[in-house]
Amino acid sequence: MTTTTPRDVPRTTTAERLPGAWQLGLHRGALELRQFFRQREQGVFTFAFPVVLLFLFASIFQDDVEGAGITAAQLYVAAMIGAGIMSVSFQSLGIGIALERDEHVLRRLRGTPMPPAAYFLGKVWLVLVTGFLETALLLAAGATMFDLDLPTSPGKWLTFAWIFVLGLTGCALLGVAVSSVPRSGRSASSVVVLPFLVLQFISGVYIAIDTVPDWMLTLGALFPLKWMCQGFRGVFLPESAQVLEQAGSWEYGRIALVLAAWCVGGLALCLLTFRWKNKSDG
């Protein structure tokens, strides 16, 4: 025992101001990105996966799509941008957070005065930056190899921007929510990848939208991916391609509605289900 004044008695009567969530969120974002790019395997594969698939599908199916005035390759570029965004958000967060929970990274953060919002803001920055890079890569590949015409009107880019932001947000929230499903970090990739794979089939990513059975599309329409891909087709394909759509039009209003609903619903789901510890950690 020492005679020093105990330091666990607050020296001031008012609580000191702790750093704010926004500021800490920026720092966490920088840290997340640094970690992401240092894990080279993860970085390379995350980015390469949609690009490789685009290359395969677009090279195999090159024919003109009858009556739509486009090639199948162009369809794949638009669809793969949607899938790429979902993979850097839904898939990488779903697996990544489950691993962090399993490895007690989350529990340690919970033991500090870090506000929980800072952790989620950090993930938002991670997903925004990686999603942006992934999309840029796919657009570059599409424009140079598969005759994708980049739109010139600001209106189209504005449409692209809001679909990107809403879609990314919705999928990221869904990824945070799904991270609580696997019992351990080891099972996370199986739990997350299978539904994502199924969703890509029934949302018209791997199979052209006009050949997917109606009942599958209806099921896929419950989730954000179908609407993101549809919106990107609207941005990057000529108007003549609308005939391929289930509704015969791009349906921007409905896209906005569904994606916004997923943002709100996903947030509610996260707040209800998010865990800082594994079930076994009590």
Binding site: D8, G111, P113, G282
Partner: protein, 295 residues
Amino acid sequence: MTTQVNQLAVDVRGLRKRYGPVPAVDGIDLAVRHGEVFGVLGPNGAGKSTTVEILQGHRSRDEGEVSVLGADPATAGRAWRARVGIVWQDESAPAELTVRETVRHFARYYARPRSPEDVIAMVGLQEKADSRLKALSGGQRRRLDVALGIVGDPGLLLLDEPTTGFDPAARHRFWDVIRGLADEGTTVVLTTHYLQEAEALADRLVVIARGRVVAEGEPAALRRRYGEEATVGWTEPDGRTREFRTKTPTRTVAELMSRFDGEVPGLRIVRPSLEDVYLRLTGQDGGPAAQEGER
């Protein structure tokens, strides 16, 4: 927030926690004063980690009153977390970051952190400051855990078996770090299953076995209280060895001397070490209680 100086840093009464039908903590009381190093000593599975996790606010309790720095850990907020440092038993931090990046980042969470460079030096990781965490040895990672626990300059530090897996030299270095923090006035609560560690660091300690406190006090007082009884052994003329436990071994020897008329065959007097006391208290001395207890 108003905290009286005479209030206890940690005040636990009647704490109970069960996992299924198994009680892990079965009615524990703790009273830790401000500025002291308090040891929670016990074998694996005695309920130490459960207790300290409840103090950290990371585990719910079934029964009992818990006050840590004047607040209930189950409901305490950010300001409370800023004043309580935690060193976990099994911890991980992102493997791809360097020691310096990690300590600097954690320092940002606090209003008035210690200097990250000072903290790295305190735990002796200066030479590893730019190494990725995945390149650290087990002992070095534990020292990083301590660095992250103290970077916020907490008034109370909770350590759960901090030196498990350390080699003796690393353990002594670690003890010096804890002593340094205690000299600055930090209240420290640490669990350990190393008697030597509790004796070296703790001003006071409790011994826990099977979810209950079986002894409490200053290490020296515990040794006096439970170490008084000596065992006198000798060999009977028929060759059988006899043992007698007594608080007055000299008298027993005198009696033996008169019985044997001089030299007592095979005479020995054994005083229990603190280790023996501890093993007896926690039922690990080979008695029937030694068979249970692991969780």
